[in-house]
Symmetry: C2
Subunit: 131 residues, 2 copies
DNA sequence: GACCCGTTCAACCATCTGGTTGACAAAGCA
DNA sequence: TGCTTTGTCAACCAGATGGTTGAACGGGTC
């Protein structure tokens, strides 16, 4: 693995329905690998791989307990993605509001200028720059 | 493509940093494919593919405008993922609180009766909390 | 009509991913 | 001391993914 950025790892980890289901079940209680694997029609090894993906993303941790390896959900990491989503959803909504105001303020203008909005054109590539 | 469930598609779409950056920029304003492609060291075709992924996930829409295809962010779809994340984070936090209360209420009890806690989960999947 | 611009389609390639099976390590139980 | 349970590691395979290049299409402009 090429050590992708954390956000990508978390999103990628949650992009698989089996892994999402595992997370959902771990949100209720910790569980061992065999317990987690039981409901799925796949081998235990496959589930172990899924857990490795979740662990690399920081979403779960495993402790040693005799020969069992109980898996524990690290719920705070979910906040990382939530924050990203919220930031951009809010930003988009703010824009809609601004657009509404703009449209309300101008009487009518024939079609030409729609795409070339005032201000910058494709400037900031940085997704992390917060307000 | 095998028509994966919407949630998986959205998460998978956001698992790529380039696509996430595109979403971030579209949250500020609509843009054409070439505008979007400009900052990245990849071909326009590659960006067009990324946009197809985002479109299949319902995250963006394209309208026809002369020979341009301005891309527009559909921000509501982000709520889908936010809701999923919030639900499970809240569930996990509720569990921690419950566990705290449980630990506070019992002095100490070696393994046996742990799984039969009141109300919660009775699944006995949780191997006792042995230090 | 000829031409250019913006965009997509098609074919190809390297790599990643999710799954399999088989072997093996670690810890408890007979 | 074996034997069973639990879990991981390794090798392998089919299919998806992200990238490339080259060709084609749709629509203005000359």
């Amino acid at each position: 693995m090429v050590a992708a950025d954390p956000l990508s790892q978390v999103f990628a980890a949650l992009a698989d329905p089996t892994r999402r289901d595992i997370v959902a079940r771990l949100a209720v209680r910790d569980a061992t690998v065999t317990e987690l694997a039981a409901p799925y029609p796949v081998s235990v090894q496959a589930v172990s791989k899924h857990l490795k993906v979740l662990e690399d993303a920081g979403l779960v941790s495993r402790r040693r307990e005799a020969q069992r390896r109980p898996v524990h959900l690290e719920a705070e990491v979910l906040d990382l993605t939530t924050k990203w989503l919220e930031r951009h959803r809010r930003r988009a909504q703010a824009r809609y509001r601004r657009l509404d105001a703009l449209l309300a303020s101008m009487p009518d203008e024939p079609g030409a200028g729609t795409g070339t909005a005032p201000g910058a054109t494709a400037g900031s590539t940085d997704p992390g720059a917060g307000p």
